[in-house]
């Protein structure tokens, strides 16, 4: 056990833990609170009675942390506890998960984000019976400060992320105690639908409303911890891909004076003595940034849609990732940039977020995401042909219904082995007034949607950047020119051709 001794020595050098004075004070306080806690929670168990407590000052409930001092202790994350580094350590604050109690020892699990480690508190020369008992009464989801020796285990601990080591506890304080009755158990909230259906475990299902009413607990599941990190990853990879291409990040107004897209599905805000609206998209502002010579811009921010439907495609508020760029000759310059941006995100997630994806898959199993490089681009006509071949009746200039989108996603996946593809050249009739018509065929337009697993995730088009043509098309669509004047005017002082995903 040489290396253990060495490590213990080096840790002593790094910092011995709280100062003696503070320890004493803590111990006193802890003892007081612990006694109170014990009174409340102990029941039939025999306690240490009047025996002197050899662990005094090494466990208990910490007083409320009010920033009195800064002890010089080195704190270790659970995720970094691995078998090659056997050491004495203090674990960064972690949540207590579950217990197994035998006569003289207590096994419990501590969790930190999506990492967890098994802890062992065993009556010994330094650990008292009272201490083991105190720890066995700590409520689940309480926050602990635990110190001890990291040891290799004989068997893999399958329930924990750190499977090869366990922590032999020598000191443990409750930093923040959870109430004894939790509205939901993390392990229930983390259970997969398939395991519930197969009945190979407890069959407690946590409903959506219980989750949302207790979001703080629900977010402690490994899948939710991972989803938040993947969300961050998507934004980060989006930015990186676009910054490499010289894009400038902008922020666009959310409270706007005019309900830009005709007034449907827009939230109204009481703006002092007037009314204002919440922006349904940053579209007009992005385009004005292009006319203002920013050339390539992107924005990440809240968008608002007053859609009173409860589907996963209808949210009243979400975070939009949006871009707009000037091009020279052909809107495919932009389509290519967006396609490559998606591939960079797909690749980046697979490379940098594999642990998080695995955590999500454990609760929500899914096949690995497939994509082609360069991405597949089909014309709308080709999509219609594939649907017809599969027996679907759909018109040449008819928009895709949601079921048809899903079916086409499956047909494309079967034929081309990709979960991501671009559908180009939509019928002009089904797109907004500002969409540039296809110069070769007036029934179609310079517009496209992109799909992931049969769901549209982005929609875009070359915008009409000529004020005269824009006014003509607006009139055809019965869009009042008065209402879109600042938008049309922004093209009057020189504007490059451009396009975005709205």
């Amino acid at each position: 056990m040489t290396d253990e001794t060495e490590n213990a020595a080096s840790v002593t050098e790094q910092g011995k833990g709280p100062s003696k004075k503070a320890m004493k004070k803590q111990a006193k306080e802890a003892e007081k609170v612990a006694k109170k806690a014990e009174k409340q929670v102990t029941s039939a168990q025999g306690d240490g009675g009047d025996q002197p407590d050899i662990s005094e000052g090494r466990y208990g409930v910490l007083p409320l942390i009010t920033s009195i001092e800064k002890p010089d202790r080195t704190l270790v994350r659970i995720g970094s506890l691995v078998r090659t580094i056997v050491q004495y350590c203090t674990v960064l604050l972690s949540y207590t998960v579950q217990y197994m109690i035998t006569a003289t020892q207590l096994l419990f699990e501590q969790r930190q984000q999506h990492f967890s480690v098994q802890c062992l508190a065993m009556v010994s020369a330094s650990v008292s019976k009272q201490m083991v008992k105190f720890l066995s009464n700590v409520t689940k989801e309480s926050l602990l400060d635990v110190q001890g020796v990291v040891r290799k285990t004989d068997q893999k601990i399958v329930s924990c992320s750190q499977q090869e080591v366990e922590l032999h506890v020598e000191q443990a304080f409750v930093v923040s105690a959870a109430e004894p009755v939790l509205p939901l158990q993390i392990e229930d909230a983390a259970r997969s639908e398939s395991s519930l259906e197969e009945g190979d475990g407890p069959s407690i299902r946590v409903n959506q409303d219980t989750r949302l009413d207790n979001r703080v607990l629900d977010l402690r599941t490994p899948a939710n911890q991972a989803i938040f990190r993947i969300q961050m990853g998507v934004c980060e990879l989006f930015r990186q891909a676009l910054q490499r291409q010289g894009f400038v990040e902008i922020n666009t107004p959310k409270i706007i004076a005019v309900a830009s897209e005709g007034g449907a599905n827009v939230f109204e805000v009481t703006y002092f003595k007037n009314s204002a609206y919440l922006a349904q998209s940053p579209q007009l502002y992005k385009q004005m940034a292009i006319a203002a010579d920013f050339e390539k811009v992107y924005t990440i921010g809240a968008v608002f849609r007053a859609e009173d439907s409860n589907t996963h495609r209808h949210l009243t508020e979400f975070v939009g990732l949006d871009l707009e760029m000037a091009f020279h000759y052909h809107y495919h310059e932009v389509v290519d940039v967006i396609g490559q941006m998606f591939n960079a995100i797909f690749r980046g997630l697979a490379d940098q977020y594999s642990e998080e994806i695995a955590a999500v898959n454990k609760q929500y199993p899914a096949e690995p995401f497939q994509f082609l490089d360069p991405p597949l681009r089909l014309e709308f006509k080709e999509g219609v042909a594939m649907l017809r071949e599969a027996g679907v009746e759909t018109g040449d200039e008819e928009d895709l219904s949601t079921p048809n989108e899903k079916l086409l996603g499956k047909l494309v996946k079967a034929k081309y082995c990709t979960d991501f593809y671009i559908l180009d050249k939509f019928p002009l009739a089904v797109r907004p007034f500002y969409t540039m018509p296809d110069p070769q065929d007036p029934r179609y337009s310079n517009s496209y949607d992109m799909f992931m697993r049969g769901e549209e995730i982005i929609s875009g088009a070359q915008r009409i950047h000529d004020p005269k043509l824009l006014a003509e098309r607006a009139a055809l669509h019965n869009v009042s020119l008065d209402k879109i004047k600042p938008y049309v005017d922004s093209f009057r002082y020189g504007c490059p051709p451009h396009r975005p995903p709205p």
Copy 2:
């Protein structure tokens, strides 16, 4: 001139420009539009008359770009036109700025974001009189596609960003024409207040309302182009500094059910059949993320304040950069992280955005920003003492007025040579109910503000993470417990001590 010939040859290999067919079509169209344009704009000037046009097909107004083809031309940015690389090139779309016309030649300036280059169109074997005349009639702020030879100039061109070269134009097309009368001139909008006051140039001042009514033009000034890029830089450096420390980016709801901070200064939204509110800060959500075991989070997003005041400190909507982190022993762990984050932003801006800062300084002169590493931290008491020493009467537990904040900024700058400092330990009485009292002196609190040039830019405190103490303090502040129940409840299931800038 060997290198020029070589470069011309190599460019020919890379791509000759548009295909012959397209060129012919363009030329035809251009000629037609150009003729029309000439008719409209020429007046007293003599024209080429019936002489054959040797430049036919090399100038004119391009037809509306509807994505017909993708010519294989290599495009060059104005910012990359430097004297060491003399070459034949096509400049990426750029805006026409201003002219100087002599008998046979035309000097004009092309601008691209904050870069500009002088262009020369001179009657020659390849440039016709008609072409020079056509170009001299292009309206300012029109978007051009210009091709020519880059040559070193004899004298520095002080009006342009590219001072050592000019472009000898051989081909030029109008991609998007600006209207002849502009609501404001870019050079007027870019003029500094001091140059207006000193009267060392034209004295046209562009008013704020003219700017805002014509934001697309106003944003073409070098200072505004730079400000947008610096804004991006601040967000980017903020993210980088925090990601290095393991922070997770989150997004928080903007439409909320309850007016969280007492209902004052909050915008009301009509939410279907109910009312909702716009979030005044992401605070409660950040804290709930900490209670949900994210440990360190940040968010960048819109915040809304219904403040009907027209000062630069009162905006109804702005982008907030916000963070929250758990700490172990002392809220100074967090203060240190924030201080270092600010220093990383200051350093990053100076290193990576010096060109942009110079562009802003040209219109808005300012001294270089000074800061200390580590940042200066003063206690509130010390600040009060400095103010009193300067003759200001202020109470021990009185909040700083705006004039006192400004004065203290000047005193600190004079004494410590820093534009950035932290003022720690504010009186408890002037801070919100959720602020942790100072454990050593109940008149003060574990809270602070940070200042740049005498203006508060961030405000923070250790939050009370104990539900009982929180309820007590709320009662003292007359905050109804009913209204903050979900917030208080989020501390009931184990929560680390934490603090944020609200």
